[in-house]
């Protein structure tokens, strides 16, 4: 054991084992616990029933995101049930001494956007949240994973979690991304390749030249969707890009602490002689803009392709799933993906609701108009992103193009607030899930990058910026 090299995930794991016993899961210490209104009320209730306190409020932070409306946020939430859920979180945070970023606060936003933004998400930490896209934080070289409500209660009470050691998978992305191709295209193409169960039981480490070249925001997009490949977590070893992003942020270490932290963070790389349980290699230079045509994130294809013909799929279960998907999506085999018309474009979510995403989309929309009859929602991932965008004048670009400029939240990513698709409506969405009804009952979702979203808004059909005159 001592002379064998370790992977990044194994190093972080080892650093956090409080207790390990034969035949039992390891007891893992949790450095940061993120909380939101949907998956926490029953956990706080459990604490109350058992007369337990929150062990480390100082390692816990809460935000309101899933239910919040993105218009009229200065008024009480109209939907009574949503309002109750948000108010329950406020009461729980007050009772248990947890810092909460409420609707309208300068630091409020989608839980996975605010952690990095506040500098709380740091290399080498363990991070959990009652939300599967906690994998986003892995972009900083953290071991970050989603948990259920029982586990939320467990972390609140003990700041630990019993966990089995996961397997590790290396995904190496070689080469250079062509122009107009983004990290969203990498991850969509990857999921189409390995399948929605391809990463099951693994922590993925993304490596290689193309990953190293990505900004922190683009890295977050990839790690975010690790869960769509079935993986427990996704991570990228920290480097200068990571340190530069963190430096000076509110909760990042400073002075001598900063130097000590960076010295430690530099050790967080997979050793040359470490072995992974599985490896996948892809070449970035082969990639083109990628979109989904079906009802799971693995059902995708390059934008230049056509809707596939299920009858050519050999695997029975996959064929049945593709047939069902096409029926639900109202698509016929052979239709060119570029000919698919949409009613709605959603730009936002913890996948692609950060400032770089908005900049990329605004650059495409500048001086152009949204196609007639297409509704475009631009929902910043956090209030800080909103502020930043407004200071750069991006909001005017969106509004002049005919898009709606909203406040921060999950919004149409999952349609818990009023931002939903109507039955049969079709969207191009920068979010992460195209499941049946995800964006509203009967709604049809195509997952796309911010660039494709913006070009699609202009043409009214799935498009890349290169399709625009």
């Amino acid at each position: 054991m001592a002379d064998k090299g370790r992977t990044l995930a194994e190093k972080i794991w080892q650093e956090h084992v409080v207790r390990s016993a034969e035949g039992e899961p390891d007891l893992l210490y949790i450095d940061l616990h993120l909380v939101h209104e949907v998956t926490s009320p029953q956990a706080f209730d459990g604490l109350r029933l058992a007369g337990r306190a929150v062990r480390r409020p100082d390692l816990t932070i809460a935000t309101e995101d899933h239910n919040v409306p993105t218009v009229n946020i200065d008024q009480p939430i109209a939907d009574i049930v949503s309002r109750t859920q948000v108010e329950t979180l406020r009461k729980n945070c007050a009772d248990f001494g947890i810092r909460l970023h409420r609707m309208g606060d300068a630091s409020q936003g989608v839980v996975h956007v605010i952690g990095p933004q506040l500098g709380l998400t740091q290399p080498g930490t363990t991070i959990v949240c009652g939300d599967s896209h906690t994998s986003t934080h892995g972009a900083f070289g953290a071991l970050a994973f989603g948990i259920g409500t029982s586990e939320v209660e467990h972390v609140l009470a003990t700041q630990t979690l019993p966990q089995y050691r996961p397997k590790t998978m290396a995904i190496t992305v070689n080469g250079t991304l062509p122009d107009g191709v983004t990290s969203k295209d990498i991850i969509l193409a990857l999921i189409a390749k390995i399948g929605t169960g391809g990463g099951q039981g693994y922590v993925i480490e993304y490596r290689g030249e193309a990953i190293r070249a990505l900004s922190m925001e683009a890295r977050m997009t990839i790690c975010n969707m690790s869960i769509e490949a079935g993986a427990r977590a996704g991570m990228i070893a920290p480097d200068e890009t990571t340190f530069a992003y963190l430096k000076g942020r509110q909760h990042a270490p400073s002075g001598a602490d900063w130097d000590a932290a960076v010295a430690y963070w530099r050790t967080l790389v997979t050793d040359d002689d470490a072995t992974f349980d599985a490896e996948v290699v892809i070449d970035a230079s082969d990639l083109t803009p990628f979109v989904t045509w079906g009802t799971n994130p693995g059902q995708g294809a390059p934008l230049g392709a056509s809707v596939p013909d299920p009858s050519t799929i050999v695997d029975d279960a996959e064929r049945a799933s593709a047939e069902r998907a096409l029926e639900y999506m109202g698509l016929r085999p052979g239709t060119k993906l570029r000919d698919i018309e949409v009613n709605t474009v959603f730009l936002g979510s913890c996948t692609n609701g950060r400032i770089e995403d908005l900049r990329a989309a605004a650059a495409v929309l500048k001086g152009r108009k949204v196609a007639d009859g297409v509704r475009v929602l631009v929902v910043p991932g956090s209030m800080a992103v909103k502020q930043q965008a407004e200071s750069e004048g991006l909001h005017s670009v969106f509004v002049e193009a005919g898009a709606e400029w909203r406040s921060a939240g999950c919004s149409m990513c999952l349609g818990m607030n009023p931002d939903q698709l109507a039955p049969g409506e079709r969207s191009a969405s920068t979010s992460n899930r195209n499941f049946e009804g995800r964006q509203g009952k009967g709604g049809r979702t195509h997952l796309v990058s911010p660039l494709v979203a913006a070009a699609t808004a202009v043409r009214g059909r799935l498009s890349a910026p290169s399709d625009l005159d």
Partner: protein, 199 residues
């Protein structure tokens, strides 16, 4: 948590793969702040179709769900487990589960059983031919039994023991509170905190 040792009931064949948690319970049903009442949202979209398997009279009252591969992928919502339990399900059988869903189910006492695809197919055929088939999910012996078929399944000893004893994880962890304290003392001071020292 209720103890789980062995359960015998009738089974529902859900011939679908990739049943994500948005299908098990759509987001609009997640707004309750209790642990009960989620049965109304279970497979809400599909249940509107009278031909959907859960609506068929021959499967009324069946409490073992037999699903295709990749059941419970997607969102971490434990509401998916509660919805299945609130509706009456005691066990779910599938060739592969979403990781978080499986963790949630085993914490909450809903037994998720992994069987190979071929076994699931045979089980589907059996309960489609005869919906009254009694299916036993036996955690003690780690097998699923129906008619004269015996299908062994794997589950780790620790989880099995916890389910059979109905033990609450938090209680188990709190037995080691001292070790947690010792660990905390060795944590570097520069690690992030959400509250300033003065708060």
């Amino acid at each position: 948590m209720e103890k789980f040792t062995t359960h015998t009931g009738r089974a529902v064949p859900l011939r679908r793969s990739n049943v994500d948690t948005d299908q098990i319970i759509p987001a609009v049903y997640l707004k309750r702040v209790t642990r009960t009442g989620f049965e109304d949202g279970l497979f809400a979209a599909w249940r509107q179709d009278p031909g959907f398997v859960l609506n068929r009279p021959e499967y009324a009252g069946a409490d073992v769900l037999v699903a295709g591969a990749d059941f419970g992928t997607g969102s971490s919502r434990e509401h998916a487990v509660w919805a299945l339990q609130n509706y009456g399900f005691k066990a779910v059988i599938s060739p592969r589960f979403g990781d978080i869903f499986r963790g949630n189910s085993l914490k909450g006492g809903l037994l998720t059983v992994l069987l190979p695809e071929s076994d699931v197919e045979r089980l589907w055929q059996a309960v489609e031919e005869d919906p009254t088939t009694a299916v036993t999910v036996d955690l003690v012996e780690r097998e699923v039994r129906y008619a004269d078929v015996v299908l062994p399944f794997e589950i780790d000893d620790y989880t099995r023991w916890r389910l059979m004893e109905g033990l609450d994880d938090i209680g188990l962890t709190l037995r080691h509170a001292e070790e947690v304290e010792i660990f905390e003392q060795s944590r570097p001071a520069w690690k992030p905190r959400t509250l300033a020292a003065a708060d």
